[in-house]
């Protein structure tokens, strides 16, 4: 069940939860991820969907948040990471096709692993619980099918 042990998962998850708690207690903001794409696009795309007030109001902090996420991972890699810099061996086409579906799906669903998975579920939102169960299930089915096809 846990070939890599539990420690890194527990500590990593605790940091993620602490970050969400830290931001919420100080500002009341739910520090979530996927709206970042839409809110950043609002700088360039003038259509009403992108120019919604929620996007305009959050687009600045979402850029700072994303920059922080990248920097935090870099700090981990340069300090206590056991394996240093690391590159995936998953084929590029899967990152691109998958990434497209992730961008499309999370925006249609109004949330991702962080928005539905952490902030939504911790807000006891049943909508988020259904969303999480759905994307974990379809993720597992997808990986299973890829395995059967030998991809």
């Amino acid at each position: 069940m846990f070939p890599l042990g539990l420690t890194s998962y527990i500590i990593g998850g605790a940091f993620i939860g602490l970050a969400v708690a830290f931001v919420y207690i100080l500002t009341g903001i739910h520090a979530t991820q996927s709206t970042f794409f839409t809110s950043t696009l609002s700088y360039f795309v003038k259509r009403p969907y992108f120019q919604r007030e929620t996007n305009l109001k959050s687009r600045e902090w979402r850029l700072f948040f994303a920059a922080g996420v990248m920097l935090g991972a870099l700090i981990y890699t340069l300090t206590i990471s056991p394996d240093g810099f690391w590159v995936t061996s998953i084929p590029l086409w899967r990152l691109i096709v998958g990434g497209f579906l992730v961008g499309f799906g999370t925006r249609l669903s109004s949330g991702c692993t962080s928005g539905h998975g952490i902030s939504g579920v911790a807000s006891l939102s049943t909508t988020s619980v259904y969303a999480v169960l759905t994307f974990i299930a379809t993720g597992m089915i997808t990986v299973y099918i890829l395995g059967v096809l030998g991809i």
Binding site: F2, P3, S8, Y9, G12, G13, A14, F15, I16, V20, A21, V23, Y24, T27, Q33, L41, E60, W61, F65, G68, V69, M70, L71, G72, L74, I75, Y76, T77, I80, S81, G84, F85, W86, V87, T88, I90, R94, L95, V97, G98, G99, F100, L101, V102, G103, T106, L108, S109, S114, S119, G120, A122, Y130, A131, T134, F135, A137, G139, T142, V143
Partner: protein, 134 residues
């Protein structure tokens, strides 16, 4: 720099550190969870949930508003057809790439530069959704 941006920047650093520490910035680890060979990510989610749960449900009983201003409001969304269709599409993309938005951004920080292609594709997906399906 605005106070709010500083808080989110620091929060982002902690968040990204956690994603990297918890291996979630590695798509291979995400796929091993979806393959049901390593359930560690469920543990990571549970640990994250615990802290977020306390902040969202318990802390507001003791202080009536956020320390720097604003208001405490649960994150609630109305359940609609799009919530589920979107989650289905997201799950397929997650299973293909092993990337979700936050993990992809942190993945760049661990040196996984191909994740940038995934992020670019996420922007395109978000654009197509907003442009044609909203």
């Amino acid at each position: 720099m605005k106070q709010q941006n500083i808080v989110l920047f620091i929060g982002g650093i902690i968040f990204g550190f956690g994603l990297a520490y918890g291996n979630m910035s590695k798509p291979e680890i995400v796929l091993s969870f979806l393959q049901r060979t390593d359930f560690g990510l469920a543990v990571l989610m549970a640990a994250g949930f615990a802290f977020a749960f306390v902040a969202i449900n318990i802390v507001p009983r003791f202080i009536d508003k956020p320390i720097l201003g604003g208001e405490f409001k649960r994150r609630e969304r109305t359940l609609g057809k799009n919530t589920i269709i979107g989650a289905i599409v997201f799950g397929v993309g997650w299973g293909l790439s092993g990337l979700c938005p936050g993990a992809a951004i942190s993945s760049v920080g661990v040196g996984n530069l191909p994740a940038l292609a995934g992020i670019a594709a996420m922007f395109l997906g978000a654009y197509v959704m907003g442009r044609y399906f909203s």
